[in-house]
């Protein structure tokens, strides 16, 4: 029985069982998970709490959970990594802009550093902000004075907490941050923010048309131009000058799994 105040006004509330609750708990602790792990997690929760039931299709499973979470302004949101198109899932707050998740972990000056880095990232052409440029802004930070050395460590802390990602001395947003903060970013930088011409989602990294300037996410480009020998800009029809990335293939990923440094080892038995 779901109390009336828990029901969404337009949607029927789904049924939560321990399978779903366990899933939520585990998803929460990870912050963000790739689809492959999410599926394993789901199977694990079934095995543990209801081993005789058939594992529901992931999409339905998640929609079920989301219908219950709706009145809490929380949802399991699905996204795609900007660089290689992996599907990812995170539990996000809809109502707050979830940077408040950060607010409890960081001091005022650290949050301001993040804000500054975020602005540089959004304004940049590549979606990356160099460490140097970010650190040059330490004098402008609110709150306690921060030295550059300290700021370097704070940036690493952001990386550890999956808010930023570092590549060769440059920083961009972690896919989790994009999932969680999209709303906030669009609202606080309405003019500077870039949007993908295909999926209309927030764009930090992507390819742009050199003629008309429209931008597209790498995975969106991959899908759109898949098996197209003469890729052309969907907007101005000019020849698309960039290398077309490959569409993400989960099967190939799994096989290559062991060799990747940050992938978990494949196991023969699940728990």
């Amino acid at each position: 029985m779901v109390p009336s105040y828990m029901q969404g006004s337009t949607r029927r509330v789904g049924i939560m069982t321990d399978v779903h609750r366990r899933f939520l708990q585990l998803l929460m602790t990870h912050g963000v998970l790739e689809e492959w792990d999410v599926k394993r997690l789901q199977k694990h929760c079934y095995k543990v709490h209801d081993c005789n039931a058939t594992v529901e299709k992931l999409e339905d499973f998640i929609n079920n959970i989301n219908s219950v979470l709706e009145s809490l302004y929380i949802e399991i949101k699905k996204g795609v990594t900007e660089d290689d198109g992996r599907p990812i899932y995170a539990l996000v707050n809809l109502a707050t802009t979830s940077v408040s998740k950060m607010a409890s972990d960081f001091a005022e000056n650290e949050l301001d550093l993040f804000r500054k880095a975020l602005e540089l990232i959004i304004d940049s052409e590549t979606g990356f902000a160099s460490s140097t440029n970010i650190l040059n802004l330490v004098d402008q930070l609110k709150g306690k004075k921060m030295r550059k050395k300290e700021a370097e460590q704070v940036l690493q802390k952001f990386v550890q907490h999956k808010w930023l990602v570092e590549k060769e001395g440059e920083f961009t947003l972690h896919c989790r941050a994009i999932l969680e903060m999209e709303q906030y970013i669009r609202e606080t930088h309405p003019d500077a923010v870039k949007v993908c011409d295909l999926c209309h989602g927030l764009l930090i990294q992507g390819q742009s048309c050199e003629t008309c300037g429209i931008k597209m996410h790498l995975p969106c480009v991959a899908k759109y131009f898949q098996s197209n020998s003469e890729p052309r800009c969907p907007h101005c029809n000019d020849y698309w000058p960039h290398e077309i990335p490959e569409v993400f293939d989960p099967e190939k990923e799994r096989e290559a799994g062991i060799s990747k440094s940050n992938k978990k080892p494949l196991r023969s038995r699940q728990h």
Partner: protein, 345 residues
Amino acid sequence: MPRGQKSKLRAREKRRQARAETKGLEGAQATAAAEGESPSSACLPFGGEPQNLPAADIPSTPLAPQGAPSTTNTMAADSCTYPDEDSSQDEKNATSSKGTKGRSGDPLNDKVVLMVQFLLQKYQKKEPITKADMLKLVTKNYKPHFNEILRRSSEYMELAFGVDLKEVDPIRHWYALVNKLELTFDGTMNNEEGMPKTSLLMIVLSVIFMQGNCAPEEEVWKVLNMMGVYADRKHFIYGEPRKIITEDLVQLNYLEYQQVPNSDPPRYEFLWGPRAHAETSKMKVLEFLARLHDTIPSAFPSWYEEALKDEEERARARAAARARTAAAMASARSRAMARNFSHTK
């Protein structure tokens, strides 16, 4: 809204924005809540056009730490941006459309939402919760409804997350969030073999059993490694396996972890802890092992014998305990009857 109010609101909002930048937003939320109406423009520390914000948005705390003494109180300032009317429902953008659906216009619900988010954060960080912390989330106007808000929040936590909010210290009013889904073996779960810590524990207990009731640490890790669980690698379910088996489960008295006597360099071994003896049995562990290998317990003859003996001993112990209880109850009853007789005479 009467005309005078609009300019008052704007002035207040300006002051609030100024304050919000440097301090937490407690002042803002207090006045906003007191107004009874909180237009979504009210709590934007960064200013800017609020019109295109979804009604449910709380942009007030993006990256703004709470200046209040309890620094983990992120949610304290958020209460002001849940207007009671969905006036900006039409202007929300696609990504936030979910946020305003299902709004019953119930202002208490907004506080419940905040409370739940606060509790979730505390749960993830494994931090204790005081009543004072929770009270801070609830602004003056809603304090009389605190118990109701708390009750509804607990229900949500249970319903959606399987987490219980328990008052662990009724004097100092400390609360803890307990995972309902991770319980002991004693039959309160329908599937005792499954829980993450539990199945990890079962595996370790079975290794100990197979090793003659005392297992060298290397043997335990050998088995765990075969299942993809490594001492120095974070596991997608178990988290930190080494910490779990050498610290957490030891603290909970499920395992004993001790240095092998006279070992140099020191080596360690595992034994069953008293709680494991109390809550499970060799037979149950053997059953678990058998399931893991897709076979039946008797497929391991010598362990099966040992487990059977253990079962017999337990059965005898239970019978003896029952006899003692029955005897005690009988004598208590006869005493009571004797008293009644003498009384009614």
